[in-house]
């Protein structure tokens, strides 16, 4: 197990380097001059500009700039913005919002999605099954920025106006605690939730037809036990894979939700940095997301071994 872990971590390094390289190259290629962008409308002072260029190695070749960056990154140094602020500080300012949002969304997606899928699979072809199939199809089709507005209007505004229930704040305010995240997280989770429900349904339906489930029935076990202990345990394996990979995409996909609900997470930070051509911030944010993605995938693989004893890591 230990050796497997080390090997996986070593394998992750080229992916991380490749991805940062790509992102760095893309932000290097962004049109426009970052120093000029810093100065805004007026003409940048040539002396100051030259000094900044020197300080931030902007005159160096792309490769040397990248090398500079990546070697700092591996020492845990995310670098500075052109205004001298630590990139790490900027990221840690924004990151918790996105992280919280993604975690709440992840929980909603996992719990509601799996439950809906189980109910649909056990009532195959019945009303509830059709309802789950139809509603998930709709949810998958409606883009997040549309469902965001719809939920904001229905759960946020109308619930308050016509029923007096002010449970879902329309715009984000940290002081509301976890309640502040509920509506945005629901919006963020919606598409994945629908996928999880469908995947759970298919997977459980398939395992319900497995020979060992038939054996469990023949043993005279109560249906609850047949489904819960024998079918579901096996059906969960592909769902865990999906959920693990999805944690990363939830964080990456939070941009839109953050815009709708005015949350100052990494989406906003990234948009701002692209506008200001601040390559260091862009690469820092994306690297962090890639690390989340890689770690989540690693955890999934390890969970696999727990869920399925046939899998052994060597």
């Amino acid at each position: 197990m230990g050796r497997y872990l080390i090997r996986r971590l070593i394998q992750a390094i080229p992916v991380l380097i490749g991805a940062t390289f790509l992102i760095y190259w893309l932000s290097f290629k962004l049109p426009g001059d970052p120093i000029q962008a810093l100065a805004g409308e007026k003409k940048a002072d040539p002396l100051v500009a030259a000094m900044l260029r020197e300080k931030y190695h902007l005159n160096d070749s792309f490769l040397s700039q990248y090398w500079n960056y990546i070697s700092n990154l591996f020492q845990g140094n995310f670098g500075e913005t052109l205004t001298g602020r630590s990139v790490w500080d900027k990221i840690t300012e924004a990151f918790p919002y996105t992280m919280n949002l993604a975690i709440v969304a992840f929980l909603i997606e996992a719990v509601v999605g799996v439950l809906a899928g189980i109910m649909a699979a056990l009532r195959r072809g019945k009303f509830l099954d059709q309802l789950v199939l139809l509603s998930t199809l709709l949810v998958i089709s409606i883009p997040v920025f549309v469902s965001g507005f719809i939920l904001q209007l229905t759960l946020g505004v109308q619930l308050k106006n016509s029923w007096g229930i002010d449970f879902f704040p329309v715009s984000f305010n940290e002081n509301d605690g976890i309640r502040a995240y509920l509506l945005p997280a629901l919006v963020l989770a919606s598409t994945s939730l629908a996928y999880v429900a469908r995947l759970t349904r298919t997977s459980l339906m398939e395992t319900m037809r497995a020979d060992y489930v038939r054996t469990a029935t023949a043993k005279g076990l109560p249906r609850r036990r047949v489904v819960g202990r024998h079918a579901l345990r096996n059906a969960l394996i592909p769902i865990v894979t999906f959920l693990g990979a999805d944690l990363g995409s939830l964080m990456g996909g939070a941009v839109i939700t953050e815009k709708i609900f005015n949350i100052h997470g990494i989406g906003g930070l990234l948009a701002e940095s692209v506008y200001r051509k601040e390559g260091t911030v862009i690469v820092g944010v994306v690297s962090l997301l890639i690390i989340v993605y890689l770690v989540a995938n690693l955890i999934v693989d390890l969970l696999y071994a727990v869920l399925d004893p046939r899998i052994r890591y060597a």
């Binding site: 991805a19 992102i23 883009p143 507005f149 990363g248 941009v255 994306v286 993605y293 899998i311």
Partner: protein, 321 residues
């Protein structure tokens, strides 16, 4: 790497408990012939299944309508949003009426006309992206699966890099780099980030089939790589590629709208549903119609493609029957 000990694979082959074989053929003739027949019946079963499936029929009717809509929008609306004076500010945010079914937006432009004309960009993005993804991902996947070894490892690592980059964030960056936001650049961006999906399908399909008895036999009989690929590998990969292609066509259309909504996709004066929603979102509590009509058009379009893909997948997957 992950390894399954002993013959765990048998488990994936779920048998239909209880249902007896209705065809009544005993034993299976090994080799190409049985394979061919199985495939033929898979497709003909699927076609007869689809013809009776209302989801497929509705979905493909919608797809057809959308394609016509994007090819010749002038059949559906007398006005063009691009003619001078198409928008009159005095009409700003007017509600839907008998003459103007969808009302007017904040600029005083007819929402119906714009919604109809916006279909073109969505369909272009969907089709072009999917085509690019299938060509690039398919070719590389085929290469990785056939050649194996170092080429396979390198290509697989390379796809992992793209998998790790979040679609929207990567899209944001590449679009800003490309500068010009129109249907074509958006397609290139989405394809750049989307091809690894098809790569994986293609690669695993090749790996699955290249050691099958009938492929080994064909090779032993002297069939060349090209012939084996064309006759055995591609036909097997087509089903999952079609399914994923149809579904992701819808997803790409949604992604284009998302990029445009974020202001980094199609740029004005281009028209996109995502852009329309973004413009309408500022005043959307006073004038919801300006947002809802393009949003509904977008949702229906995505829905149509997903319905088709979903129905095809169900028809091709005998396990789910």
């Amino acid at each position: 790497m992950r390894e399954t000990t002993t013959v765990g694979d048998e488990l994936t082959d779920t048998k239909t408990a209880g249902a007896p074989s209705t065809s009544g053929t005993v034993g299976n003739t090994p080799g190409k012939k049985a394979k061919k027949e199985r495939e033929a019946s898979l497709w003909s079963d699927a076609v007869s299944d689809l013809r009776r499936n209302p989801i497929f029929l509705i979905g493909s009717a919608l797809v057809l309508l959308l394609v016509v809509l994007s090819a010749v929008p002038q059949w559906f609306t007398p006005d063009s949003p691009f003619t001078a004076g198409a928008c009159q500010l005095q009409d700003s945010l007017k509600k839907p009426s008998a003459d103007h079914w969808f009302g007017f937006d904040v600029q005083g432009c007819d929402v119906y006309t714009r919604t109809v004309w916006a279909a073109r960009n969505s369909i272009i993005v969907g089709i072009v992206t999917t085509a690019l993804v299938i060509v690039v991902g398919g070719a590389l996947g085929l290469l990785a699966g056939w050649v194996g070894g170092l080429v396979d490892s390198l290509l697989s690592r390379f796809t992992e890099i793209f998998f790790a980059i979040p679609l929207l964030l990567g899209g944001m960056l590449i679009m800003s780099g490309l500068g010009k936001g129109n249907a074509w650049t958006v397609s290139i961006v989405l394809a750049t980030l989307g091809w690894p999906q098809i790569f994986r399908i293609m690669r695993s399909s090749v790996l699955q089939n290249k050691n099958n008895d009938y492929v080994v036999a064909a090779r032993a009989l002297g069939a060349g790589t090209w012939r084996i690929t064309m006759r055995h590998i591609l036909p097997n990969a087509i089903a999952p590629v079609i399914v994923v292609g149809a579904i992701s066509l819808g997803v790409y259309i949604g992604a284009e709208a998302a990029l445009s909504y974020l202001g980094i996709g199609v740029q004005p004066p281009g028209i996109s549903w995502g852009l329309m929603v973004s413009d309408a979102s500022v005043r959307w509590l006073q004038a919801p119609h300006v947002l809802l009509f393009p949003a509904a058009a977008l949702s229906i379009t995505v829905l149509a493609f997903i319905m088709v893909g979903d129905a095809v997948r169900d028809a091709l997957d005998p396990k789910l029957r």
